[in-house]
């Protein structure tokens, strides 16, 4: 706990910018060299060609459309997964009968990865939105549920005991102690789940879809339009970073106190 901040602090802010600048420029250069000297550029397009393809796809409106489709699938599945995972995780962490009832399924299905469900989901729900949203939901629900469950059962005993001294009833204990004490775990679970949702949506769109970033990547690959394929991958990574930043910004604005300022 102590060592990391000190290590980080030993690099001044200006150096941090410089080091990441060198890293980024170095990576692009390596990419450029690799794509011109080592690998045929049809297999690995140059950074410039990839960016040109990206610009063209933005102009054509392909990229905004596909990105929008993927993002809305993620958003819907993620929200439903959170809406189910949080209450169920709370109930499992707080009430033993609920835990005993649901735990075997949670323990079993968390080892069956979302990709294993792609085919059944398409068979059951078709190639439309429902199958993708189902997969994102599946990805989200276990991560959020398990984190919530662990969090709510790890509330320090003295926090509960002192509230009971003050005369808090079960609802006050839940709303004013257990729930806020669990918030960091819930938010951590959500953040991890969002990252995994990006992976899940691409997997689903690979197999059967008519739109979405996964579809864009595999479709471009089929036609050997590797510059468009890499542009799709670039977009995916950037959107992921953006979504994570957005999530953190919302947390910092609305829920900072749950990350226990120190």
């Amino acid at each position: 706990m102590e060592r990391w901040p000190r290590l980080r602090a030993s690099i001044p802010a200006s150096d941090t910018v410089r080091v990441s600048g060198v890293s980024l420029v170095g990576f692009v250069l390596l990419w450029q060299v690799a794509s011109t000297l080592w690998v045929p550029s049809i297999l690995l397009p140059t950074p410039v060609r990839t960016l040109l393809a990206l610009a063209a796809m933005l102009r054509e409106g392909v990229l905004p459309h596909d990105a929008g489709v993927s993002l809305s699938r993620i958003a819907i599945g993620f929200l439903i997964g959170t809406a189910v995972g949080v209450p169920l995780g709370l109930a499992m962490g707080l009430f033993r009968p609920v835990l005993v009832f649901f735990e075997p399924y949670v323990q079993f299905f968390r080892f069956v990865p979302p990709v294993a469900w792609i085919i059944p989901a398409i068979l059951w729900f078709g190639i439309g939105e429902t199958s993708k949203i189902f997969l994102i939901f599946y990805t989200t629900v276990f991560l959020v549920l398990l984190n919530t469950m662990v969090g709510v059962s790890a509330v320090p005993r003295n926090q509960i005991r002192s509230a009971r001294c003050f005369g808090a009833g079960p609802w006050q204990l839940f709303l004013w102690v257990s729930l806020p004490a669990t918030m960091p775990h819930v938010l951590t679970g959500m953040r991890i789940a969002m990252g995994n949702s990006f992976a899940a949506v691409v997997g689903a769109e690979f197999i059967a879809a008519q739109a979405g970033l996964g579809f864009l990547i595999i479709d471009s690959g089929t036609w050997l339009a590797t510059d468009r394929m890499f542009a799709g991958m670039l977009t995916l990574g950037l959107l992921g970073i953006l979504a994570d930043l957005l999530f953190r910004a919302v947390v910092a604005r609305c829920a900072a106190r749950y990350f226990f300022p120190s």
Partner: protein, 260 residues
Amino acid sequence: MAYITFRGIDFRYGAQGPLIIRGFGLEMRRGEFFTLVGPSGCGKTTVLNILAGFEAPSAGEVVVDGEPVRGPQRDRIVIFQEPDSLYPWLTALENVEFPLRVLGVSPSARRTRAREALQLVGLHGHEGKHPGQLSGGMKQRVQLARALVLEAPVLLMDEPFGALDAQTRIILQEELVQIAGRTRQTILFITHDLHEAIFLADRIGVMTAGPDSAIKKIVEVELPRPRVRGSAAFGELYERIHQILSEEVRRVLRREDSLL
């Protein structure tokens, strides 16, 4: 007439566990500062938890002001050794407001009372800080303020200064003596530090080594306050209680030796 009575308390974990406490009896007067000392593992904290209502005795009963203890209640507030009973997502002020919020006091009234309580423990100017931003001593002051804000008749303190450095500890002991003198609360204070016990208490109960421990001897501390740690009378009393206590500590050590 005793204010708090422990009558024939036995305590064991579960139905078959070994007896931690056997036949523990104690009468506390209203407004007295009672300190419980004893070898570690003798069940001091268990006694406090039973009075707090966190644990139910296997036999016997505890009566506070004529009412048998059935669970935690607002008239008996615990101050824990670890400051983890504070709510880290709340500021110092909000932590102290918490008991009043449970009680249903209006926001403006509870804010005023919480501010006063923080002022009383010397935390004026730190109201907006979160527990993670406060030192160990300051966190214990917040715990104290949070206990004082309800004006509960009984305070239960479980080695509250045990994790603090020596200097902070002495300062907090002096402040506690002043506050206790003013509020006239009945205090059960647990410690294994004999200096602390003599400095604070009206009476000191020395417990026998566990398992199946009880009170071995109760010593009245008749030194006038403020007490001077270096004084001859303080030293004499220390020696007297130390004799009683060290017999028990030696019993623990002998038993541990024979186990090896």
